[in-house]
Structures are given as structure tokens and as C-alpha cells.
């Protein structure tokens, strides 16, 4: 157990020196097998659960009254529902990038944090996934977006980016679950083998499906997991590009920009890395994972944060440039409103949090300085939300037709739903930390074995 004044080194090895197969497996399994949760876990979980309840209330009231309870209006027909959806899906995507893309490139630092990244992807996607349904004027009819034979032989309208998005989201959530579960099988088996007889053991036994590490099981698992990772990488790019197309595909002022798909992917990377940092920094301490999640991991994530923030900076520049270059009066008016108009605080807030502050990470020292990283990451999370606000709300409030200009005022229920999804996300993460092995043990073993080989 280390203390708060621990100093990290970005060039530290990915695993601590005195870590062997048994101790690693033992420590990770024990986290999952604990009889009673830590105090800190309850302290974190109770408020999260309360927020989740708030979400349930907000949804019930929404279904009872209609979306009039939100701030959406004419002309700002899309409000918090869409912007929070985009925000959450970006957070989830960051997790997938870490667990899938960096698996393909054999980045060894990814091993110990990919389980956390995957949980983040899972519950981020869950929080995002409910929004598109709530957003509908008649949510109980959402299934009309499916392909299904009906008496009127009516089909969905395949030209709509919204439909693409619906299927991209559906695929993404579904595939994420499969990917996560396949990677989880051996670890569930390990926990099963270490559990005392009883309910817990049976539960893990059932979920482990009888995986025992026989040669065939391993061989096929590697094959499937590899291909899945190879698939998940383009999927995560696609979902975010398609979310971008929701906007770029529309003729609306401020949306009709070809750079949106890559722009949105950059945003996804940035917020994904920020949230991973926000999660692993406290978890490694609370769960005593300092020798598995070392300064190396944090340093690498900090570098990635910096890189993606530079990418985003380029996207911001291009956004402003294309408005000026295109010279459409609507776009120019919108740009003016953002640069020095009523939306300037939001715009400059986004620039500050997403672009300017992350530049601090050029400093080697700050890259492993815990408090700085926490604050920067938190800033990025807020900054990304502001960016979504800019894209969704401000564009709609400034349509080409000046007589239709409007203002958007979020209501209590807008905020309640947002807070509720945060609660949902955190509860999900906490539950997974409590019952699911937080580190991919079978991948860690490879690291440990090779490290031992090197030391001999």
C-alpha cells in the first residue's frame, strides 16, 4: 500500500518486480471474491445508485408527460438527449480503442488496463444507448426503425443518417458485450477455481461456461479474440463517423461539414483517454494495483491525451476555416456567435479544456503528476460536453432563415436525465469492479512469464 506522495516514473516497467503468477492471480481474484465490500466502495456506490434512481424517475415522468418537459423547442428540436448521447458514445469509444486497437498493435501497457477500459466502454454505451429512445416524441414506437415485415409492407427509410446511426449503435453495443465477454472467460474460470464452494463459485462456474484452459479452448479463443479485436477497431471508428454523419448529413447551418466524421472520432479518442485516466488513477490505489498499473501506463495515456487533443485542435481550426472559406452568411453568423457572441463562453470553454490545458502535458513531469492529470482529464470531460453543446444546440438556434432564430434553455429534467446517466455509468463501473476481475489475468500472465524469462 503506497501513500499519496508516491512519485511515478514514466519509464517504469509495465509490471512491478516482485509480481509472480500466483500472487497476481490471487490478488485479482480476491478483489472479486471479497465477502464484504470496502467502505470506499459503498461511499462511491450509494450516490451513484441514487442518481440512477433519479434517472428512472426522470424517464417515468418523460413517458407520462412527453418531451415537452425538456427545453427543446422550435427551432432547437434536438437538445440534451442528442448531445449527451454523442458525449457518452464518445466516452465508450475511447475504451474500445484501448482494448481493441492497442491489442492489435501488441502494446503491452494496454494489458492491465484493458478490462477497466472495456467496462467503461460497456457502461458508456449503456448510458448512451438509452438516449436515442428517450429522444423520440413517441418512444414506444422506436421499434419502427428495425427491419421487420409488417402488414403494410412498410420499411424503414434507409437514406436517413439517423437510421444508420441506430444500427451503428445497435451493432456497437451488442458487439462490445460479446467482445468483453469472450475476453473475460478465462478470468471467470480462474476466479471459479479459487472460489470456496457455494453460490459464488456456482455463479462464476456458470459464467465461465466450463472454460478450463485446455489447449483447444485456448487456441480457438486466441483466434476469435484476435478477429473480434480486428473487427471492433473499424466498428468503433464507424460508429463515431456515423454519429458525425447524423450532423454532416443534414443541411443545417453549422452541421453540413465534411470533416465531421473524423472530427467526431478525434473527440471520442480524447474523452475516452480522459475517462480511462479518471478511472484507473483512483482504482489502482484503492485496489492496490500500483505494481500492475504503473507510471508507464499513466505516462502513455497522458501522451495519448495530448496527441488526441492536438488532433481536435486541428478539427476546431478546420471548422472555423471552412465557415470563413465557404462564406455562407448563416455559417458566418454562427461562427461570430461562437467566437464573440452569446455562445462565446461555451466555445472558449471547449477550446480551453480540450485544446489549451492538455498542452501542459508536453512537460514530462506533469505527464505522471497525479493531481494535474485528474484535473486535466476532468476538464476534458467537461470540455467535450461543451463541444457537443456547441455542435447540437447552437447550430440549431441559428438556422439559415433569420426569422427562425431561437434560444435554448435546458430544464430541470434535462439536467436530471444527464445526472442520472452519470449515476448509471458509475454504478455500472463500481459493480463490475466489485464482481468482475478488474485485470485481464490471462494476458497479465504472458507479461509475467516473459518478464521472468528475461530476468533468468
Amino acid at each position: 500500500m503506497s501513500n499519496a506522495s508516491e512519485t511515478l516514473r514514466a519509464d517504469a516497467p509495465v509490471i512491478g518486480p516482485n509480481l509472480n503468477l500466483e500472487s497476481m492471480t490471487d490478488r485479482i481474484s480476491r478483489i472479486a471474491l471479497r465477502e464484504r465490500a470496502h467502505a470506499w466502495w459503498w461511499i462511491a456506490f450509494i450516490p451513484s445508485a441514487a442518481l440512477t434512481l433519479l434517472l428512472i424517475v426522470a424517464i417515468a415522468y418523460l413517458f407520462y408527460e412527453g418531451i415537452g418537459i425538456w427545453g427543446v423547442n422550435w427551432p432547437v428540436m434536438w437538445g440534451f438527449a442528442i448531445l449527451c448521447y454523442v458525449w457518452w458514445i464518445a466516452i465508450a469509444s475511447g475504451g474500445t480503442i484501448i482494448s481493441a486497437l492497442f491489442f492489435l498493435v501488441h502494446a503491452e501497457w494496454r494489458t492491465s488496463i484493458n478490462r477497466i477500459a472495456e467496462s467503461m466502454m460497456l457502461f458508456g454505451a449503456a448510458a448512451a444507448g438509452i438516449y436515442p429512445v428517450l429522444h423520440l416524441g413517441r418512444p414506444w414506437l422506436f421499434y419502427w426503425l428495425f427491419f421487420y415485415p409488417n402488414t403494410m409492407t412498410l420499411w424503414a427509410q434507409f437514406r436517413s443518417p439517423l437510421l444508420w446511426d441506430f444500427w451503428a449503435l445497435f451493432t456497437y453495443v451488442f458487439a462490445s458485450v460479446l467482445f468483453w465477454y469472450v475476453g473475460l472467460l478465462p478470468d471467470l474460470a480462474s476466479v471459479r477455481d479459487r472460489a470456496e464452494r457455494g453460490l459464488k463459485q456456482r455463479m462464476y462456474a456458470v459464467f465461465a461456461m466450463g472454460f478450463r484452459g485446455s489447449s483447444g479452448q485456448w487456441r480457438h479463443l486466441r483466434a476469435v479474440y484476435g478477429v473480434m479485436a480486428a473487427i471492433m477497431t473499424p466498428v468503433v471508428i464507424s460508429i463515431h463517423s456515423i454519429v458525425g454523419l447524423d450532423f454532416a448529413g443534414a443541411a443545417t447551418t453549422g452541421w453540413h461539414v465534411t470533416q465531421f466524421p473524423p472530427f467526431f472520432v478525434c473527440g471520442a479518442l480524447l474523452s475516452g483517454f480522459a475517462i480511462v485516466l479518471l478511472l484507473i488513477i483512483p482504482l489502482r490505489r484503492f485496489l492496490n494495483l500500483e505494481d500492475m498499473v504503473t507510471g508507464r501506463h499513466i505516462g502513455v495515456l497522458a501522451k495519448l491525451l495530448l496527441t488526441s487533443s492536438l488532433l481536435l485542435a486541428y478539427a476546431y481550426l478546420m471548422d472555423a476555416f471552412s465557415a470563413c472559406y465557404g462564406g455562407n452568411p448563416g455559417d458566418l453568423a454562427l461562427l461570430a456567435a461562437r467566437l464573440h457572441g452569446e455562445y462565446a463562453p461555451v466555445y472558449w470553454g471547449a477550446v480551453l479544456f480540450n485544446v489549451l490545458l492538455p498542452q501542459l502535458l508536453w512537460s514530462r513531469k506533469l505527464r505522471v503528476h497525479i493531481p494535474t492529470l485528474m484535473l486535466l482529464s476532468l476538464g476534458v470531460v467537461i470540455g467535450m460536453w461543451m463541444e457537443r453543446y456547441l455542435i447540437v444546440v447552437t447550430s440549431l438556434s441559428r438556422p439559415t432563415l433569420v426569422s427562425a432564430w431561437g434560444v435554448f434553455h435546458p430544464t430541470f429534467w434535462d439536467w436530471a436525465t444527464l445526472a442520472g446517466t452519470v449515476g448509471l455509468f458509475l454504478s455500472g463501473i463500481l459493480l463490475s469492479v466489485r464482481f468482475v476481475p478488474v485485470v485481464a489475468m490471462h494476458e497479465m500472465r504472458a507479461l509475467i512469464v516473459s518478464a521472468q524469462a528475461r530476468s533468468e
Binding site: G68, V72, N73, M77, F142, L162, A404, G406
Partner: protein
């Protein structure tokens, strides 16, 4: 009492209504109290919930069997009612005494939609917003249904008893102490009843009084010609129109006809363009379409006119004191003289008699009489007695019996009258009005007034033409017509309104009465009853002598002046309980649900006022607080207040909305004005303050010279479309399209209400308008160009453009909006899941969304919805359909008779007084819309979006006087 309880109570009584006759009375007893307890009109949900209660009540009235004939039993089909085939019955709408002919559309025996009467000279087939709103007025659940004595429920029998008693006493003393107060009346039969009453009761007196009075105009005519005269203008003959604070297009009895005639000369592609000068202190509809709008303080007109008159009369313009003479006058006078004989000069009714007298003289001097206008005897017969005398007598206690017919002095009387006190000194007073209104609550007796759709009557139009008003439905409530009540003084037996009207006309009509009368009913008017032009010459002494000293002392520039105007939505307040009109954006300020004081930007700047800031307005010792709204183009030192709001007892919708400014009518004393720290949100449908000048892409406008300079080749719309990636074009037998002439549009809002009435568009209430959720399918955008002090203004009706390449369609994930073969952009409500992407993608923002179950919460009587149009559910997008139900009807007819589909008229097109809208079939080479789209002025809104809209506009052209370039 909570709305829920009240509803529960009324439903219970409805169940029992059959058995217990006394129960109706008890139910009514609840009602006035209930009405007080309820109704926060600001919160939509309150109002609408409460309306449920009244439905139960109107139900009671409906089931009541005491109206002669039984209602039509559902088992037997009523005579000449064919299912799904509307019937049309002509009648008239009477406002301020004058009639505009209307035709009421009945579906399955229910009057549902109002259209203009093409035969009627004051309508020519079009209507104003008030007429369009009549159905909701008729089905208003707040209409009083019960005779009341001192505010408590009673019944007709009791009233008859008391009445005949009093009648005997009056008869004995020759009617001494009897006074009859009415509004302005042109109804021949009612006048006849009143005259014969005055004969039978020589001591009695009749006082006619209208809050929006035309008496100044009449006395002005008396000064000039010795008798009260009405002016009948023929604006289509006028090359130059000069108007001082015009009401030609707003409250003049001939407004609809004038709008039509004016528009006939405003589109240079179709006719020689006229030139309009408006001299006014507060923007009027005419001022907004004028080519030159000169802003003057109210007092100034009196100063300017004498010079103008002299210069017009003499060859050389007379010099006026330097500095006091406006820079624009020379050019104006020159223009007037050069157009001699083709000029029309007009002054608003609220101007003083002297002004009207001088205007008459100027018109005479310019040989305009009988060229651009004629004079006829005043149609609303002036009552011998003046209101002032009545008030004197009342205060002196000389009045024992006061009969008030369809007038509401407790609300409309000027403060100087102190009417409340005067009324207390009258032992027997009776009020006949539609609601248990401010006056009715104070009188001894209250008798419900029959709605003009429930009884027989007649009225004259601005040119004297007589219309017979026939009932349109079985009375919903047990009401009396004014003539019936007056008649009760003359007959022992009460007569039906029908027999009164028929008995009056029987001796006066030539030929077979039944036939002539039926023709009159069918036509909606009695043929050639129009008044003959009077030939009376101006009196020699008519030259205004007393004006010189007036011009000597110009009004001190510092002084503020308060002008009162009729509310463009609520008239004088009689429509206050009509939710359609309360939520109708006012043409110039676009505000709804309230009547903020209108002040100039300069005054606002001086007092650091913003729209919505509350001020305290003092005139003499009277004072009131009201929010302000900044109105560009307002004279700097002028404050405009709209009459018609601030009702205390209009009903649930209209109560406590805005401020009542009637008491300030003709109130002496200086106007003072200070800011308070209070602020009140003004609900407007323009959500971001003052609009900038519209870009070429949105609204095109040019001067006549530019138009004449440009080549007159048919515009793009008629020429083959530009190359495109997509070659799918609708291939149907008909191709529907619309053209909107911006030169014709005067922003009068008739189309907005027509659309709302035809398409079952719900009202959302102030709270939701503040949240930018109004539902109008057809809105009129107003743009301002130039400086805020004297801007140039433009009206642009915006409705669904029915784009051939509609951006809304290809973003809908469920295909709820798509194209049909005839070029209509359809909205399938049942398929809509409410993603609202279509609205985001609509460049014209014409789509409206049901954020709540607006329509279902509105609780208007079920029978008042248009059965041809589905009422939209919560969470569904909606928009203009080009009145697809009317197109469908035409298709069915065409299929039935196997002929090509015929002419279809949309609701907005039918209502429009200026024929700004032209709708039709592009595939028909002879169609009017095709002709209009060939106009060189034709342009498509936001054409850069490449949406190929089927709705296009005609460029706004102005005809300024070249000599006035750069002169303010």
C-alpha cells in the same frame, strides 16, 4: 375550488339533469363562482383543463328541451345534409355596426368554417381574422346561458314578470327615465324597433355609443357638408393615396374591400402601380405597405394640415414658419397636384373633426370626389342623444331604467364617465350580452344575448348594402336578440327574432316577398340596397378658420402623447375570450397573450427600457402599470396602447390578460411615464428581438425604377429547371403549387386564423409560446430594413414550400414524410415517431411539433373540430399540407365525374383580402398559379438550398417618389 372538483360536480349534475328541473339553476349558481375561482389564462394547462368543465355545461344546454324544436335526432338524416358534403349558408359578420358578408360552411349540420361572401361588396369572398375566428366564438363554452338577477341565477319567466311590471310603470309616465344604450347600429330592423319605441315612449332616449367610434369622421363631414357622411373609397382608381394614421386596412368598415382594391394597384407586373404616402405616429398596416412613411407626433397632423390644404388649393405653396414645415411636404404636394383627380386622401377615424373636415376639403380641391371616392349618408344612424347627456342624467339620478344592448360600458367606458357610480344610481338596469361580463355582473337583470349564428338580424355594409343575418344552428344557449328585447316594450307577446326581421322587410320588399327574401338569404345580401352617392356640396363657410392659431403653438416637443388603437387581434375586447385570437401574433410586434405599451426605440433608450420592462403610465391622476415593447417606426414621443385586453369577466381565456386602456380614452392631462423595477416576459413569436434586413436569399425587394429597368422575361420558375443529380420528379395528373405576392400581403393575419380553423391547429398558451412552441402552420414573418427609428418593413407569409427535393424527407428514419405523385410533401402523422430530424433539416422551419398533447388538452367542444382533418397526437410532427383534405375532396369529385381535377382553394387563399396567395395546378396550362409563376417578379426562397420549392414569392416592389430620395 380545484378544477378537478368542479369538473366532478358538473358531470354529476349532467347525469341528473334529465330528472331534476331545478338542478340546471343550481348548476348555474355554481358557474359564476366557479368562473372566478378558475382560469389562469397564462398557464395553458390550467385553461385547457378548466374548459373540460364547460364542455359538460354546454352539454347541459344542449340537452335542454326548452328551445322550440327538438335537435336533429341522429337516427334520421337532417334535411339536405349529405354526409361528407359541406353545406354553405350566407350571413354576415357585424363589427362596430357594419356588416361584412360571410358564408358559413356546415359539415353534418355543424357550422365549422367561415368564408367570405363573393357577392358581398365589403367582402368579395375574403374575410378578416375576426370572421375566421367566429366558430370558436360560437362554440365558446364560457358564453352565459342563464338569466341572472344581481349576479345570481334566475330564469326567463322571472325576468318576463319583472319586465312587464316595469313596462307598465314606464308606459304610464311616457317612458320618462328610460334609456337604451347600444353600440353603433346599422341594422334596419333594430333601428325600426328603437324608433317605434321612442314614438311609444316619447320621454325615453336612445344613446348609441361605440368605443372605437367613427363619430369624429361624421362630425367632420357635418362641418364640411352639413350632414353626417360616410366615405366609400375606390382605391383601385387612386394613383396617389395620402393617409393620416390610416385605419383603411385595420378597422374601417370597408377594410376588406379597400385591401382588395389597394392590392390591385400594387403589383407592377399586373397593373400600373399606385403610390402611397402614410403620415402617422404609430405604424399601421397601410403605413407598412406605403412607399413613403412620414413619422409625426399625433399633435403635428393638426399643424401640418392647414398648410397642406392651402398649398393644395393655391397654385404657389404657401410659406410656413421655417423649421416647423416638414422637409417632405413640397414633393408631396407636387405629387398630389400632378395626380389631380386620381388622388385619395384619408384620415383615421380617431382624428379630430377638424382634421376630417380639412381632408374633405383637400379631396374636393383635388377633384377626387366621385373619382376615387364617393360620399353617402352615414350608415350607422346617429342617436339623437349623446353619451355625455346620458352620464349627466344618470349621475343626476334622472335615469330609472337603463337597457344595455350588446355593449359593455363597465369595461369600455372612459374613466371620465365614472360609469360604475352612475350605474349604482339606476334602480332598474338590464344588460343583454353574450357573457356574464363586467357590466352584466353589475346590472339588476342580465339576459344572455343570442349569438349572431343563433338568431335573425340584418345589417348594412360600409356602402349601405343590406345583409340578412340568418341563424346557423340550433341555439346552444337560451339567448335573446337585441331587437327581441326592444320589441318587448311594444308587444305584450314576445316575438321570435325571425318574425321581427321578416315583419320589418315584408312591406319594404317589392315583388313576391318569400322569393325576394330567400334570394337575399341565398345571396347574403339584398340586391342593390347600396346607398346612392350624395351630391351635397361643401358649405361655403366650411373653410377651417380656427386652425391658424393651432399651427401657431406647436405641441411642445418634450410632451409625451398616448394614442389608443383597436387591437389587431381583439378589436375592442369583445374577442378576448377567443384563444385563437389571443394567440394570434400581432402584425407588427408579433406578441401574443397581452398588450404591452408600444414605445419608440428613442424613448426606450432614454428611459433605459427593454422589451418586457414594466412602466407606470400616468395621465392626469389616472395611472396604470404595464410592460412595454419596443416598436421601431413609432414616433419618438408617442406611446401606443392597444384596447381590448385586461378583461375582468370575459371568460377563462381572456381574463387577466394584459391591461385595460379604455379608461384612458380621451382622458385630459399630461402623459407621464416612469420605469419600475418589475419585468414581465412578453410572449412573442419572434424570438430574438429586432430582425435585420432580409437577405436576397430570403426576401427580394426593389424599387419600381429598378423593376422597369430590368428585363421583363419570365423568371426561373417557368423556365426549365437547372441540371441535377436526381431525376425523380413527381409524375401525377396534377402538380400543386402556390405563389405568394409580397406586394399584396398587408400582414392582416386573416390567413393565419383561416389555416388554424381549417386544420385543427391547437392553441398552446402563453407559457408554451414563451418556450417557442407555437403551432401555426402558416406564419407571417416581418422584416425591417433601415434604421430602427424609421424602418422599411416587409411581410412574408411562410408555409410549407413543398419542395420537390425536400430535405425533410430523406432524413426521416421511418419514411413518415414523403412525396406523392402530385408534388405534395406529405406528413404521415401515424407513422411519425418524433425524431424531429425533419424540422432540423427544413431550411424554412415550417414544421411544428406536438411537445405535449396540445390538441387533446385544449378541450374545445368536440363538435367544433374540423372532421376532415385528423387531430394530431403528442410527439408528432405536423406542418402545412396545402389543405390536402380539400385536394382530396376535389380528386374524389373528379373521379366521380371522370373529369380532370378542378380548382382547389386553400384556406389561406380563400381568406386573404388581397389575394396574395394563388394556389393551383401547374399541369393545367390555364391555371392562375402558372401565370403568376411566369411573373418576372417570381423568386424562390433560399434557392441556394436547391430544394426546388413549389411555393414561390413575388418580389416586393415599392414606388417611391424620386424627388424624396434621401428625405426623411
Amino acid at each position: 375550488m380545484s378544477p378537478l372538483n368542479s369538473r366532478a360536480h358538473l358531470w354529476r349534475s349532467l347525469e341528473e339533469a334529465g330528472g331534476d328541473p331545478g338542478l340546471l339553476a343550481r348548476a348555474t349558481q355554481e358557474f359564476p363562482l366557479l368562473a372566478k375561482a378558475l382560469a389562469d389564462p397564462v398557464s395553458r394547462r390550467e385553461v385547457l383543463k378548466l374548459m373540460a368543465a364547460c364542455m359538460a355545461w354546454s352539454g347541459l344546454a344542449g340537452c335542454d328541451s326548452k328551445f322550440g324544436d327538438a335537435l336533429i335526432p341522429p337516427v334520421r338524416m337532417p334535411v339536405n345534409v349529405v354526409p361528407a358534403q359541406p353545406n354553405f349558408f350566407a350571413t354576415a359578420q357585424v363589427l362596430g355596426g357594419y356588416a361584412q358578408g360571410i358564408v358559413v360552411e356546415h359539415v353534418m349540420g355543424r357550422p365549422l368554417k367561415v368564408q367570405g361572401n363573393p357577392h358581398h361588396p365589403a367582402s368579395l369572398g375574403s374575410t378578416d381574422a375576426y370572421a375566421q375566428a367566429l366558430p370558436l366564438d360560437f362554440y365558446d363554452p364560457d358564453r352565459a346561458a342563464q338569466v341572472c338577477v344581481r349576479g345570481n341565477p334566475s330564469d326567463r319567466a322571472a325576468f318576463e314578470a319583472a319586465f312587464s311590471q316595469e313596462r307598465a310603470r314606464l308606459k304610464a309616465r311616457g317612458g320618462a327615465g328610460l334609456r337604451i344604450l347600444t353600440g353603433s347600429i346599422t341594422s334596419p330592423s333594430l333601428l325600426d324597433r328603437i324608433q317605434s319605441l321612442l314614438l311609444a315612449y316619447p320621454e325615453a332616449a336612445w344613446v348609441g355609443w361605440e368605443p372605437l367610434s367613427r363619430s369624429n369622421a361624421h362630425s367632420g363631414a357635418r362641418q364640411t357638408y352639413g350632414s353626417a357622411l360616410d366615405t366609400v373609397a375606390h382605391l383601385d382608381r387612386a394613383d396617389v393615396v395620402l393617409a393620416f394614421d390610416a385605419d383603411l386596412l385595420s378597422t374601417d368598415p370597408g377594410r376588406l374591400r379597400y385591401a382588395r382594391d389597394l392590392a390591385a394597384r400594387r403589383n407592377p407586373a399586373r397593373a400600373k402601380m399606385s403610390r402611397i404616402y402614410a403620415v402617422e405616429s404609430t405604424p399601421t398596416l397601410l403605413g407598412c405597405v406605403a412607399d413613403h412613411r412620414f413619422i409625426v407626433e399625433p399633435g403635428e397632423v393638426e399643424r401640418i394640415l392647414p398648410w397642406l390644404l392651402d398649398s393644395v388649393r393655391s397654385e404657389s405653396p404657401t410659406a410656413a414658419p421655417a423649421g416647423t414645415r416638414p422637409s417632405w411636404m413640397a414633393a408631396l404636394i407636387e405629387d398630389l397636384k400632378s395626380a389631380r383627380g386620381k388622388v385619395f386622401i384619408h384620415a383615421g377615424a380617431q382624428h379630430s373633426a377638424a382634421v376630417h373636415a380639412q381632408v374633405h376639403l383637400m379631396n374636393e380641391a383635388l377633384q377626387a370626389r366621385n373619382a376615387t371616392y364617393t360620399l353617402i349618408e352615414a350608415q350607422n344612424a346617429a342617436s339623437p342623444a349623446m353619451p355625455a347627456e346620458l352620464m349627466r342624467d344618470m349621475h343626476a339620478g334622472k335615469v330609472t331604467h337603463l337597457l344595455m344592448l350588446d355593449t359593455n360600458p363597465m369595461y369600455t367606458a372612459p374613466r371620465s364617465w365614472d360609469f360604475a357610480a352612475a350605474l349604482k344610481s339606476v334602480p332598474f338596469s338590464a344588460a343583454l350580452s353574450r357573457h356574464l361580463d363586467e357590466t352584466a355582473q353589475q346590472t339588476t337583470w342580465f339576459v344572455p344575448l343570442a349569438h349572431s349564428w343563433e338568431c335573425w338580424s340584418d345589417a348594412r355594409a360600409y356602402d349601405g348594402t343590406v345583409s340578412i343575418l340568418q341563424p346557423q344552428a340550433q341555439p346552444l344557449y337560451d339567448g335573446m336578440s337585441p331587437a327581441q328585447l326592444v320589441d318587448r316594450y311594444l308587444q305584450t307577446q314576445s316575438r321570435s327574432s325571425e318574425s321581427i326581421v321578416k315583419d320589418f322587410w315584408r312591406p319594404r320588399l317589392s315583388g313576391d316577398f318569400a322569393q325576394t327574401f330567400d334570394t337575399a338569404l341565398a345571396q347574403g345580401l339584398l340586391a342593390d340596397t347600396g346607398a346612392r352617392p350624395s351630391s351635397v356640396a361643401p358649405r361655403a363657410s366650411a373653410a377651417p378658420a380656427s386652425d391658424s392659431e393651432k399651427s401657431g403653438n406647436p405641441a411642445a416637443p418634450a410632451a409625451l402623447s398616448l394614442v389608443l388603437r383597436a387591437d389587431p387581434s381583439l378589436w375592442d375586447g369583445r374577442f378576448a375570450n377567443n384563444p385563437w385570437l389571443q394567440e394570434l401574433p400581432r402584425p407588427l410586434t408579433k406578441d401574443v397573450w397581452g398588450n404591452p405599451l408600444m414605445i419608440s426605440p428613442a424613448l426606450a433608450a432614454q428611459h433605459q427600457l427593454g422589451t418586457g420592462d414594466v412602466v407606470r403610465l400616468r395621465v392626469g391622476d389616472a395611472s396604470v402599470t404595464s410592460p412595454v415593447i419596443i416598436l421601431p417606426g413609432q414616433a419618438p414621443r408617442t406611446i401606443t396602447a392597444l384596447l381590448g385586453s385586461g378583461r375582468a369577466a370575459s371568460g377563462r381565456v381572456g381574463d387577466q390578460v394584459g391591461v385595460n386602456f379604455h379608461p384612458f380614452n380621451a382622458l385630459p392631462g399630461t402623459v407621464r411615464f416612469e420605469k419600475t423595477d418589475a419585468h414581465m416576459d412578453i410572449a412573442t413569436t419572434v424570438h430574438h428581438g429586432l430582425l435585420g434586413a432580409p437577405s436576397e436569399q430570403i426576401l427580394r425587394h426593389q424599387d419600381l425604377s429598378e423593376f422597369l429597368g430590368a428585363d421583363q422575361t419570365p423568371s426561373a420558375a417557368a423556365s426549365p429547371p437547372a441540371a441535377t443529380l436526381y431525376q425523380t420528379h413527381p409524375q401525377g395528373p396534377a402538380q400543386w403549387a402556390m405563389s405568394v405576392d409580397l406586394n399584396a400581403c398587408i400582414g392582416c393575419n386573416a390567413c393565419v386564423i383561416a389555416c388554424q380553423a381549417e386544420n385543427n391547429i391547437p392553441v398552446v398558451g402563453k407559457a408554451q409560446v414563451l418556450r417557442e412552441r407555437e403551432m401555426h402552420w402558416l406564419r407571417i414573418d416581418r422584416y425591417l430594413a433601415g434604421d430602427a427609428a424609421a424602418p422599411e418593413s416587409f411581410f412574408q407569409p411562410v408555409l410549407c414550400m413543398h419542395c420537390e427535393q425536400a430535405p425533410c424527407e430523406n432524413v426521416c428514419p421511418v419514411g413518415a414524410t414523403l412525396h406523392d405523385a402530385e408534388g405534395l410533401n406529405l406528413m404521415v402523422y401515424n407513422r411519425c415517431v418524433g425524431t424531429r430530424f425533419c424540422s432540423n433539416n427544413c431550411p424554412y422551419k415550417v414544421r411544428r411539433f406536438n411537445f405535449y398533447a396540445f390538441a387533446h388538452e385544449q378541450h374545445r367542444p368536440r363538435e367544433s373540430w374540423n372532421p376532415e382533418v385528423s387531430v394530431r397526437a403528442r410527439g408528432v410532427m405536423e406542418k402545412c399540407t396545402y389543405c390536402v383534405q380539400r385536394i382530396a375532396a376535389a380528386r374524389i369529385e373528379a373521379d366521380r365525374d371522370s373529369k380532370p381535377v378542378g380548382k382547389v382553394t386553400t384556406a389561406c387563399e380563400a381568406a386573404c383580402p388581397t389575394q396574395a396567395f394563388t394556389f393551383g395546378n401547374l399541369a393545367d396550362p390555364k391555371s392562375a398559379v402558372l401565370a403568376r409563376k411566369r411573373s418576372p417578379l417570381d423568386f424562390a426562397m433560399l434557392s441556394e438550398e436547391a430544394t426546388k420549392p413549389r411555393t414561390s414569392y413575388e418580389t416586393k416592389v415599392r414606388n417611391p417618389n424620386p424627388k424624396l430620395k434621401g428625405v426623411a
